[in-house]
């Protein structure tokens, strides 16, 4: 039985100036050690959810539990120590003049002792493969490197959960791949539970599980295979279909039968090869 580290129970939230709910009766669990992708159109409530999860806003209705703690004004500081966030814009999250100062900043705020601090800064930068950049100035780094430093800053605080709020959307393809590779490693080493809020469906296809948001509500949840078999329905929801699924569909429409839907190009190539070429 998987252990839920975060539980949302009938959560609703409405911004003061708005006449509509940004989130309405949202309930789901997030399990320990999983990589959960939350997808949805602009305005579907994804980012509101991120704000609620670390107590930047409190829901008007419903309850959020993080690692057994009910989220409220008394527990918010404890919970923020459990959840780290990486935001969209790599240029908005730097305070230090060097990479290591920047990672140390969060630790200083938490009153961590110097010896421990030095060790943790180095250790977390090595985990994101930025150990060679300790004394670099952050603004000389590429977008992907900046986001990896931001992830290291989060890791240094030893949270249980990391939320990536569209953390790859401003990066070029190479930067995006660097960040995703880092997240994959962290997950494999079972360091963190990863919640990634994203528009990038190729990225979501690599997650363990997906939640699709629509107009402030959970539209559906499932494995990437299950979600992407929804096909055209996803396009109606303002989303898209990953490339291998589109390609496979085109083959089938042209009369090239395939045994299933593939989320990876390699698998699709292999099936074509075994069924049609390797005879």
């Amino acid at each position: 039985m998987e252990k839920a580290v975060v539980t949302l129970d009938n959560v609703s939230y409405q911004y003061e100036e708005s006449d509509q709910f940004a989130l309405q009766d949202v309930s789901f669990d997030i399990y320990e050690g999983e990589w959960l992708a939350i997808v949805g159109h602009n305005g579907s409530g994804k980012s509101t959810m991120a704000k609620l999860l670390n107590g930047l806003q409190f829901p008007q209705k419903g309850e959020i539990t993080v690692c057994g703690l009910k989220l409220n004004e008394d527990t918010v500081w404890k919970i923020r120590a459990l959840i780290g966030m990486v935001f969209q814009n790599p240029d908005n999250q730097f305070v230090g003049t060097t990479v290591q100062d920047d990672v140390a900043f969060g630790l200083e705020n938490h009153g961590v002792e110097r010896d421990i601090m030095i060790h943790r800064v180095k250790d977390s930068l090595e985990k994101v493969k930025m150990g060679q950049f300790l004394n670099q100035e952050p603004h000389h780094l590429s977008g992907g490197q900046k986001q990896r430093v931001a992830i290291a800053s989060v890791l240094a605080l030893r949270p249980s959960i990391i939320i990536l709020d569209e953390a790859t959307s401003m990066l070029d393809p190479r930067g995006r791949e660097e960040v995703l590779e880092t997240v994959r490693l962290l997950k494999e080493e079972k360091i963190l539970t990863v919640i990634s809020i994203t528009h990038d469906l190729e990225e979501a296809a690599k997650a363990d599980r997906m939640i699709v948001m629509n107009k402030g509500q959970v539209y559906c949840e499932g494995t990437p295979e299950e979600i992407f078999s929804m096909d055209e329905e996803l396009i109606r929801l303002g989303l898209d279909i990953p490339f291998p699924v589109k390609m496979g569909k085109a083959f089938r429409e042209k009369g090239i039968e395939l045994s299933k839907q593939y989320l990876s190009e390699e698998e699709l190539v292999t099936e074509l090869w075994t069924s049609y070429f390797n005879k």
């Binding site: 159109h41 602009n42 190479r174 589109k246 042209k254 090239i256 049609y276």
Partner: protein
């Protein structure tokens, strides 16, 4: 209006110890009415090139012709207003530049700044608003009450209301969801056709470049490394991949399939539909279907 860059070089913080060459020997011709995409990694010099297109930056060496105006290195270039009126730039996250009390005031700010009368500017605002797919009712609202997608459209309308001949787009879909991305890209393509604009798209997206552009320029480390039409550009995909650049999904897929199966198609296909048809024909000819 043609734009021609000839052997343009630009250095940031020139003649200081921090001098750094941003672009070098860049020659690009953008004929009137063309849709050109400039592709490259962060730091490849794309944005520096972009800022030369309406003389926000002026070359350190070489020259930039914008219509009949020539901007050369090492000379004072005054009265650039006319150039800037004719080349409208939509910067990344243009909604961050909104500042007025109402949508209408925001849209007419640009044209009025270039000497257009208020009545004419308001007339243009209505046309531009319609072209970006927004309703007139929005004119009296504060831009800050709008959704992110609407704000971006208002900002774009502000550039269109200047009635430019050339429109330059710097990653216009960053941060939008897939539907929003497609809507904005289709909108620019329609504007390109309807207004007979020249369009310059600066992007990371090989998909968008392959789909919309007539011409593609690839930049790396401050140099133009390749230019041509999409088929020419992607017909040597291995070369691009060696440079660490992406190719469109469909091109990459064709390569993987050819490598694994030994199939050899005689051309590179840029759409899923074309590729799947070509593969079917290949298999048929081989009597395997």
């Amino acid at each position: 209006m043609d734009i021609v860059l000839q052997q343009v070089e630009y250095r940031y913080q020139a003649k200081t110890p921090f001098e750094r060459i941003a672009i070098q020997d860049v020659s690009i011709t953008i004929p009137s009415g063309v849709y050109l995409a400039i592709i490259g990694h962060t730091g490849s010099g794309k944005s520096t090139v972009l800022q030369h297109l309406n003389a926000l930056l002026q070359p350190y060496a070489g020259s930039v012709s914008i219509g009949d105006r020539v901007i050369k290195a090492n000379q004072k270039n005054k009265n650039l207003k006319d150039v800037r009126k004719r080349v409208g730039i939509v910067f990344q996250f243009p909604e961050h530049q909104l500042f007025e009390e109402t949508v209408e005031k925001d849209i007419i700010f640009g044209p009025m700044n270039f000497g257009v009368s208020e009545d004419e500017a308001k007339r243009r605002a209505r046309i531009a608003l319609k072209q970006v797919g927004l309703q007139e009712e929005i004119l009296e609202k504060s831009p800050f009450e709008l959704s992110g997608g609407q704000m971006r459209r208002v900002a774009i309308a502000g550039v269109l209301a200047m009635d430019p001949d050339v429109i330059v787009l710097d990653e216009p879909t960053a941060g939008l969801d897939p539907r929003g991305r497609k809507e904005i890209m289709d909108m620019f393509y329609n504007l390109h056709k309807e207004r007979n604009l020249s369009t310059v798209l600066v992007t990371h997206s090989m998909e968008d470049a392959a789909r919309y552009a007539d011409q593609i320029v690839i930049m790396q480390q401050g140099n133009v490394v390749k230019q041509g039409n999409p088929v020419e550009i992607f017909s040597e995909p291995e070369h691009l991949m060696k440079m660490g650049l992406d190719v469109p999904n469909v091109v990459r897929f064709q390569l993987k399939l050819q490598e694994k199966t030994g199939m050899k198609l005689d051309t590179i296909y840029l759409s899923i539909d074309e590729l799947s048809t070509a593969v079917r024909e290949y298999i048929r000819k081989d009597n395997r279907l």
